[in-house]
């Protein structure tokens, strides 16, 4: 099993008191499986994604990614998981503005220490980014930037890809193109995919769907 989430709880302190975002989440994902996480705004989708990505820690419960219990890892250990095991695609792309497209794509793989030039070149090519390789992010359109973000994640060959509304900032046609590309590449790498989305149409393209409401899976 690639991912196992067991009885995960998370509470945030807000100005109006404690707010329990996740209330006992249980979830599993196998290698090669693609799962869509849907739900209303504020239902806890992104929080769950951040916990699985080791970007935040649950108050209670256990998250195991590729056999690694994240609760047993300190800040440095979780950073290691983020570098090598998990890859996150953000809605706002979050590219590094000071690096070129080519450097952005190779960045995470080189951080993780398993950069494969051939694979990176193939990714650039399949994403249609070859003419833009030496450009800077600010010189690209939104769709192109998201392709760079996806390529950056997949260049590191993560075992688990986490995508947080990856097409939320794109128009419908571009979103469809990006989605097709991402799914095909994830399938090729054999990674698992957990994608947060509002769109039932996009969710339908994945092998499994889970709906979150008020911090619980329904």
């Amino acid at each position: 099993m690639l991912l196992s989430v067991t009885d995960v709880h998370k509470t945030y302190e807000t100005g109006e008191g404690a707010f329990e975002v996740l209330r006992g989440i249980d979830l599993t994902l196998d290698t090669g499986e693609t799962l869509a996480l849907t739900g209303e705004s504020g239902s806890g989708k992104s929080t769950l994604l951040h916990l699985i990505g080791g970007l935040d820690q649950p108050d209670r419960g256990q998250i195991v990614v590729d056999g690694i219990d994240l609760a047993q890892r300190d800040d440095k250990g979780r950073a290691e998981v983020r570098r090598g095991t998990v890859g996150v695609v953000f809605q706002q792309f979050n590219l590094i503005p000071s690096l070129t497209v080519a450097d952005n794509i190779s960045f995470q793989a080189r951080l993780a220490g398993h950069y494969d030039q051939t694979w990176a070149t193939e990714l650039v090519d399949r994403m249609g980014l070859t003419p833009h390789a030496q450009k800077y992010p600010e010189q690209l359109s939104g769709g192109q930037q998201q392709r760079v973000a996806i390529a950056r994640t997949l260049a590191a060959r993560p075992k688990l890809v986490l995508a947080d509304e990856p097409t939320g900032n794109l128009d419908e046609a571009t979103a469809a193109d990006v989605m097709v590309l991402m799914l095909s590449l994830v399938t090729d790498t054999g990674a698992g995919l957990l994608m947060v989305t509002h769109s039932t149409k996009l969710a339908g393209q994945l092998t499994r769907q889970v709906h979150l409401r008020a911090g619980q899976i329904v």
Partner: protein, 796 residues
């Protein structure tokens, strides 16, 4: 409307207290440095005046008996009645203390102890019982006199002052005085000296201009650096105001859209800045006072007590302090905020509201900046070569500093670009690229650091060059241990014979006046002696110039004559009809006129009517008391005519050194201000950088790593800045010493290099950068993940 608008404008500062702190802190520090430097300058100038007064103790013309004996008091009365502004002086030794009797009501100002100059109790001083002003070291010797001794640290060691009547009584020398000091301002009509007192002759005082001119040079340069320190602070203020304007741009647009007239909006901002300037100015003036007070412990008190009337109030709370301090704060704010206000005045009502806070895409601006920097630096080079007036000298300085400051980001950017090319690791490449990206935001702080470091290098070079030159100057001019002024040729002959009997070297000081190439010059006839060979420094000479002088073939001249008459080594000049080859040019810092030195024998043959009446006496320290007593007791030359210059030189050097401590402290303070600028820039950038750092963190770089890299970034930028600052500082020192000084005073100070001082400065600068980056880096490494996650959460 005003109230509501002001509330809206001020709300920005409440929500960004760090920015407010930067603005107020920067302005206060700039004002403090300026005010502090002004006080230090005043004190430095005072120190030099005091040193000058100490060296030229006999600065006033004096009337002395032709036979060298005491003057009858009746002659003094007759002279006063004849319209002569003279004041009697008597002195004698009490143990090891030189007891000087003065007449406080007629004595020229600087010949009196400070306490009396500034309204001391003259009544008590001149009473029958009298008072003796003495330093703590003299109390024991004076105890036997059973007089009212006023102990004061302001009196130099080995001297005591009392009313002339008291000293006459104590020395048992009623109705006689040693010399009569002549007031520099004498009435136009007065009876001739030969009519009233034919037995007296005038002994010319030594001009005090020598050190005064040297002082002026130092003061001028220190003022320039004071201004530079202020400029460093204004860079900080400019950055803070600029950032606040950019961030408030949308608010200003909204205010205008809601009906606020542009004029009134500008007026409100002017009021806002004026209030800030006043508040920071008050803090700055207080800080400046504290800085000056802390930097000059005891110096002012020691020196002011004795010499020169202006010194006493140097650190008093005077209105001019407040006015100039607040003025400079308001002026500085106006300079720093002028550009932003101009932009606001030109901003169209419907301009895009997006804040371009740090203007990352500044390609066109960078090119313009590079062009401007190049133009200014070229102008500085041309001006540096051609400048021959003070204004052009300062224009050179301005062009050089501004050009270098503008060039800095361009140079650093180029080096960072290069560094990125060499970097192999992903994180390394990001580090270089990210540092480049931060550059526009840090530019002003780096420029401030550049100016601070350049000022430091310049100050170190100038001060150290100045100090070494001055010490050489003192050694050169005050090499003899005793200076004796005789009154008659017979007395002079007696002195020479007596000293020769004791095996003590005597160096006659004799001169005649000539004019070379329109330059008034004193031709000296020096005895061939190791004193000159060992101590005199030549700017340019043939080998062994003193040999040529001794052989009556050569003459050495001072720099003033060399420059003003356009002479050169090897050239021939005629001295009293005798052609002489110039064999050397020596530095003669501060002397307003030309000087030429030939050997004694030749001088006597060329100017047979001139007889040496002044002498330097070379005597080992341990034999001083014996020789002095021989001169006074056996040869009958009054004590008042002997000056222990070696001791005065030590005192002068000490005074100088204490002033140089001040400049050291000033260096550290200027660097601290630059460090403050870096700290504030990093803190301001820190909040803006979270969106850039969060993705890197999310990709697996720990917060600790990011923090360490932030410190590394600060060190790298500080190092690059230091590398640019070193040549700039040296260029600065060169312009001051070789252009400004020459334009102002007609002679140049030699520029010496002090690598160890520069290395120490570099370490200090790096330390400042590390200290400034520690807190922001620590904050970054402790940023809660929740804050970093907000970057991603805010996406929806």
């Amino acid at each position: 409307m005003n109230r509501a608008a002001l509330h809206a404008l001020l709300s920005h500062w409440w929500r960004n207290p760090l920015q407010m702190l930067t603005l107020l802190g920067g302005l206060a520090l700039a004002t403090a440095l300026w005010s502090g430097v002004q006080a230090v300058n005043a004190e430095a100038r005072a120190s030099y005046d005091a040193a000058a007064a100490t060296i030229d103790e006999a600065q006033f013309d004096q009337l002395v008996m032709k036979d060298g004996g005491p003057i009858d008091q009746a002659i003094y009365v007759a002279l006063r009645r004849g319209g002569w502004m003279v004041s009697p002086l008597i002195e004698g030794m009490v143990g090891d203390v030189r007891l000087v009797g003065v007449e406080p009501l007629t004595a020229p100002g600087a010949s009196l102890p400070m306490a009396l100059q500034t309204g001391g109790d003259v009544g008590a001083f001149t009473s029958a019982q009298g008072q003796i002003f003495a330093g703590p070291d003299a109390v024991e010797d004076l105890a036997e006199l059973r007089a009212d001794i006023v102990v004061s640290a302001q009196i130099p060691p080995g001297v005591a002052y009392a009313d002339i009547g008291v000293v006459q009584r104590l020395l048992d020398r009623a109705s006689e005085v040693d010399i009569l000091l002549m007031n520099p301002e004498q009435p136009f009509r007065q009876a001739g000296l030969a009519e009233i007192a034919p037995e007296l002759s005038v002994r010319k005082g030594q001009a005090a201009a020598d050190v005064g001119q040297l002082t002026g040079s130092f003061h001028l340069s220190l003022s320039a650096f004071g201004f530079l320190s202020f400029a460093v602070g204004i860079f900080i203020v400019h950055g803070a105001i600029g950032l606040a304007f950019e961030q408030r741009r949308p608010m200003m647009r909204t205010l205008r859209a809601l009906g606020m007239p542009l004029g009134r909006l500008i007026g409100l901002i002017v009021v806002e800045l004026f209030v800030f300037a006043l508040a920071a100015g008050v803090i700055g003036v207080v800080l400046g006072y504290l800085i000056a007070a802390a930097l000059l412990p005891g110096v002012a008190a020691t020196l002011n007590g004795l010499y020169g009337a202006e010194l006493g109030g140097a650190l008093a709370w005077r209105p001019v302090w407040w006015v100039s301090g607040l003025g400079i704060a308001v002026g500085g704010t106006a300079i720093a905020g002028g550009g932003a206000l101009h932009q606001l005045a030109r901003m169209p009502l419907l301009a895009s509201a997006h804040p371009r806070a740090m203007s990352m895409a500044a390609g066109r601006r960078a090119r313009l900046q590079a062009l401007a920097a190049f133009g200014l630096l070229m102008a500085a080079i041309v001006l540096g070569v051609l400048a021959n007036t003070l204004y052009l000298g300062f224009a050179t300085l301005g062009a050089l500093l501004l050009g270098a400051a503008l060039a800095l980001p361009v140079i650093v950017d180029g080096i960072l670009k290069l560094g990125r090319g060499f970097s192999k690791s992903a994180l390394g490449q990001w580090f270089w690229a990210d540092t480049r990206q931060q550059l526009p935001g840090l530019s002003l702080a780096l420029m401030a650091l550049l100016l601070a470091m350049a000022a430091n290098v310049g100050v170190s070079t100038m001060v150290s060059s100045f100090r070494m030159t001055f010490l050489d100057f003192l050694d050169q001019r005050l090499a003899s241990e005793l200076y004796v002024a005789t009154s008659t040729p017979e007395e002079a002959a007696r002195l020479e014979a007596g000293m020769t009997d004791m095996g003590v070297a005597v160096l006659p000081i004799q001169w005649a006046t000539e004019t070379f190439g329109g330059v008034p010059t004193e031709v000296y006839g020096n005895r061939d002696h190791a004193t000159y060979r060992d101590n005199w420094m030549f700017l340019e000479s043939v080998s062994n110039p003193w040999n040529a002088v001794a052989a009556q073939e050569g003459v050495v001249i001072n720099e003033q004559l060399y420059r003003r008459a356009g002479l050169s080594v090897g050239e021939t000049i005629e001295i009293a009809g005798q052609p002489m080859t110039i064999v050397g040019v020596y530095g003669d810092y501060g002397n307003p006129i030309g000087q030429a030195v030939i050997t004694e024998a030749l001088f006597q043959s060329l100017y047979p009517s001139v007889t040496a009446l002044r002498f330097g006496v070379r005597v080992p320290e341990e034999a001083l008391p014996e020789v002095r007593s021989k001169i006074v007791e056996d040869l009958g030359i009054p004590n008042a005519q002997i000056t222990n210059q070696a001791r005065l030189k030590a005192l002068s050097t000490d005074i100088f050194d204490r002033t140089f401590i001040v400049t050291d402290a000033l260096n550290v303070l200027t660097l601290a201000v630059a460090g403050f600028a870096i700290l504030m820039s990093l803190l301001t950038l820190a909040s803006m950088r979270v969106p850039q750092l969060a993705p890197v963190w999310a990709l697996g770089v720990t917060r600790r790593q990011l923090g360490v890299m932030d410190i590394g970034r600060a060190v790298l930028l500080a190092t690059l800045t230091a590398l640019v600052a070193l040549p700039l500082g040296l260029a600065l020192a060169w312009v001051l010493l070789s252009v400004v000084n020459v334009a102002a005073f007609g002679w140049k100070l030699p520029m010496l290099l002090f690598p160890s001082e520069y290395a120490r400065l570099g370490v200090l600068a790096l330390l400042a950068a590390v200290l400034a980056s520690l807190w922001p880096a620590w904050r970054l490494s402790r940023t809660p993940p929740a804050d970093l996650l907000k970057v991603f959460s805010h996406e929806r």
